[in-house]
Symmetry: C2
Subunit: 322 residues, 2 copies
Amino acid sequence: MKTIIIDTLGGDNGSKPIVAAIKSFLIDNPEDKVIAVGNENELQELKGVCEIVHAPYNIPMEASPLDVMRHKDSSLYVANLLMKEGRGDAVISAGSTGGILTASTLLLKNAPNVKRAAYVAPFPTKIKGKKVVVLDVGANNENSPEELVQFAVMGSLYAQIVLKVEKPKIYLLSNGTEEGKGSPVTKEAYKLLKNNPNFCGNMEARNALSGEADVIVSDGFTGNVFLKGCEGIAKMMSGMIKSAFKKNLWTKLGYLHVRKGIKEMSETMDYKSTGGAMLLGVNGVVVKAHGNSDEYAFRCALNVAKSLADSDISNKISEGLK
Amino acid sequence: MKTIIIDTLGGDNGSKPIVAAIKSFLIDNPEDKVIAVGNENELQELKGVCEIVHAPYNIPMEASPLDVMRHKDSSLYVANLLMKEGRGDAVISAGSTGGILTASTLLLKNAPNVKRAAYVAPFPTKIKGKKVVVLDVGANNENSPEELVQFAVMGSLYAQIVLKVEKPKIYLLSNGTEEGKGSPVTKEAYKLLKNNPNFCGNMEARNALSGEADVIVSDGFTGNVFLKGCEGIAKMMSGMIKSAFKKNLWTKLGYLHVRKGIKEMSETMDYKSTGGAMLLGVNGVVVKAHGNSDEYAFRCALNVAKSLADSDISNKISEGLK
């Protein structure tokens, strides 16, 4: 039995899709519990379904760390506080990356032996159904080589638990494949990572999604540029494909012929099934759902939060970093 | 009258497409000259068309800087040496990024006032026909804030000369748009760039290709990850689209309906028309053609090399950085 705390504010689509996702999650997982934190007026449907905690203030996207810690009545703050008080095993929010980072690292604190928490995000690959996780994609502005070595351990545990890869192949994101290529930090990290039997060397960004790697380690600044660069170009190309099909009746007819293939591509590129990014390295499970999440995306976030909580990942990370 | 020196080895497709490109370039630009450097046996067709210099050794892709400087009979070394001796105004090679960087920076040296040379690459944007240049995309493994400030000046001159943008809008590649976001280096660069009247702030990788920016400044490590990440995902999506259309007769029929739109997309994403990446900041014009260049791509590289040589960009950069 696990309890998942969910911040029902912060998403772009209001609390409706979250309410629906909670209901469906609890039908499929009757032994688990959910605590819904937010504006109780919007959560009437959840009465009798799960515990509701009233915390109606929604932290705005651009809030500074100070703003986050000042608004003790915000859904994000209260959700993390409940987690800190031991009321739950995982916390989910669709709020801003920065806001969640602040609330979770300051309230929950890093797990024992963890130098820095990291956002880990699963990416699609060329190999159907296979995913690769990249970390850190944005919790840090810079990282030391020692922190990258810890990220390798944290990412591997994530890949084992969520992606079910027994021996995850670890690579270091760099500007060349040979040893000796890279920034001063990655060069140093390479030397230290050689002790990890699953470390396979440097990976260029162009091959990151080839399906060869299970875990790709990066400092938070570069990882963020990689994540958002991929997002941007994927969106741009999807837009161009859509407008190619929308031109006239003939092109619309053309779409009917290939919609299965195009749908497969959209599914491959879809972030929703991944549940979002996870903040690894704090005490407890923290899932950052995509801001634009719909019911399906929140449902996936609940599933991922549950499997991470079931697996006791925080303790495993502390253990692994000893 | 300008003389362009071209390394005819180093490309993936042999010297054939280069020979064809040189011939067509000289027909359109009879007042200019070309020096073709490589294996003279492969350059017979150019006899009487342009000067041929025999230098038959092809520097392998994975050559170390030491290897590059040792092989004084290589086409790459000789092409740069001719440039150093004042025999030409621009040098083009489809050899490795690292090899060209070594030969050009060590033989030609940085232009006066330039701290570090940078590779600049033009990217497509959402706005039809509009390009954005990103630098550095791989000449450096790390950069100081002062170097990023110089890249802004160099990139602007490039945008003015090649993209014909009068007042190029300059952005700094970062992990957030607000001032105060970024790595320690970008934060410091932001403060210094405020003095540049065309500086518009931070740009997240996700919006880099929105068409808002003309110049995006990055350290060489992050810029390389951005470039190759974009390349990788664009290739992956193109592959998925192709296989969606190739499934059966019906999907092939579907393709006929949308081929115009898909062709437009391919043209937008096509790197060939850009001529490749340019190494800015050395004495003289250095163009790195894409390894996989065909005749059209080499022809574009010759055009870009000519317009950069005509514009006297090296001296303008030295002047701009005074």
